[in-house]
């Protein structure tokens, strides 16, 4: 079987297209590359969507935590503490067990029966956990950035008579993003890394449609040889990391475009956040 044939058979295996059965013996390098690469689609799906939704919630949470009103501040503080203070692994387990307990037949709401069984599937349940988790971590980053906005900027805004919503939208928010962006890039990278935990933590892989690490560990279980599949995963993730750095670097450039070149903040990779 040629490699092109393998790619056609297994390239979209993780989404349920192509060959139904996974290869059982005589694994070729091509099969391993193709299947693990096809699993990477799930990692990208989880990471990208969680980041997208998480960004919005993170902004709201950061504002709430910086708020003067206790009623807004306390819930945000607790939310961030719970999600940053506990392992993502446990959060996955807990969420799965909680979602499984939902009634099979759906929930009656105002006479309409809402189907809920899809929530315990990985594509929805794990995405929700990752979304809440990244929102908490990013909120802490943005909160820190919000507090380190230069005093002079705010005073200048006051002097121009810019107040309220306009001040937030035109001064505080862009500066917050600019200051927090290098740390946020790290958060994004480690969120993508964290997506590999999904199928090891309760959420079952439906019809063996798993992520990159799921297929890699499948190969290791079958061949008892960790020296090929795991380096392939590593290779794919290094590519993914480089892509994330490139995208976030481009955004960073845009956020810093008004500054003289020596004052721009650069994106530096610091491995500080794993969960």
């Amino acid at each position: 079987m040629s490699c092109l044939q393998t790619i056609a058979d297994y390239g979209l295996r993780s989404l349920g297209y192509g060959e139904r059965l996974l290869p059982k013996a005589d694994f070729t390098l091509c099969q391993q590359f193709t299947l693990i690469g096809s699993g990477l689609i799930w990692n990208i799906y989880f990471g990208a969507l969680a980041l997208l939704f998480g960004f919005v919630l993170a902004n709201a949470l950061a504002l709430a935590k910086a708020s003067r009103f206790k009623l807004a501040r306390k819930p945000a503080e607790w939310f961030i503490f719970v999600f940053r203070g506990s392992p993502l692994f446990i959060q996955f387990f807990l969420a799965y067990e909680a979602l499984v307990l939902l009634p099979r037949n759906g929930i009656e709401l105002f006479g309409i029966t809402a189907e809920v069984s899809w929530l315990s599937r990985a594509w929805a349940g794990a995405l929700i956990v990752l979304f809440l988790n990244t929102a908490a971590y990013s909120a802490e980053i943005f909160y820190g950035a919000l507090r380190s906005i230069p005093k002079g900027d705010l005073e200048a805004a006051d002097a121009y008579g810019i107040t309220g919503w306009a001040r937030f939208r035109r001064i505080q928010w862009p500066t917050m993003l600019r200051l927090g962006w290098p740390a946020y890039t790290n958060e994004a990278i480690f969120l993508f890394h964290a997506t590999t935990l999904v199928f090891f933590s309760g959420f079952p892989a439906f019809r063996q449609e798993g992520d990159a690490l799921y297929y890699a560990s499948y190969f290791v279980d079958k061949t008892f040889n960790p020296f090929v599949p795991y380096p392939i995963v590593a290779f794919y993730f290094i590519l993914l990391t480089l892509a994330v750095i490139w995208v976030f670097g481009a955004i960073n450039k845009r956020l810093n475009r008004h500054l003289p070149s020596n004052e721009r903040s650069r994106v530096k990779l610091r491995p500080q956040i794993i969960r």
């Binding site: 719970v82 067990e97 061949t223």
Partner: protein
Amino acid sequence: MFSSCADPSTLQGLNWLLCYLTTGKHLDFYFSFLTVLTLLAVTAPTALAFGFGGAMMSRSHILPLRIIGKGYTAMVRGVPDIVFFLFFVIALDQGIEWLMHQVRCPDWTDPIRNGLEFRVCPEAKVPQNASAQVWHSAYGFVLAVVTFALVFGAFAANVIYGAMQAVPRAQLETAEAYGMNARQVFRRVLVPQMWVYALPGLSNLWMILIKATPLLFLLGVQDIVYWARELGGAKTSAYAYPHPDWRLYYFLFLLVFYLCMTRVSELVLTRIQNRLSLGQATASGEAQRKAAT
């Protein structure tokens, strides 16, 4: 555990709960918390030592050493840590058995990697097939500790390397001007001053280490996640008392345990940070000086 628990039909309410929570399996569950704490206590210093070694190697003047050090510190940057966890445990296990095989059975002719199997001679098995179950668990635990130390050593090397770079250049030059040689500068000036710069990163790492302990479960150690799944599940091998699926409550308990751990560490580390920045030429040291006057 208690004599009043002997007759199940008489148990009710709190008394029942007390008896349920002190069954033999539950005592195993509590014991596994000790496993996690032991892992933390052993891994933290080991990883720190690995990190220190890695940082020293990356600063070395000898090229091969520097390449090894830099490679080690760069290892964890682009790749998910869980890949390393899964990889190292098997790779270490096979590496040890392969070495034992070379030593103990030099005249063994069959190939070790035969198709889908990894087969060494029976004398090279670690631990020996006949040895007690305790040794098998202990061996698994040691492998896990070494794996954790390797991965977190790489993180720690990053932090310590950065901290060594952050010590003001003038301090080192002053020491040289007093006639200290390179070793003395390193021992007496660089290392003592480095800690205040390394502490934020290291405390971050400690938090990460706490939160990485559930991964022990993936390495095949019977840790708290394992027991929570077994005890909470409705039909598992550890189930002694028929009950519906209670895993949610067990995991909730684990969540609270971890939240307490991180909260307490946070408070302690803040205190240490305050102690260390006393009299240092950093922003927080300056703030303390101003507050005192």
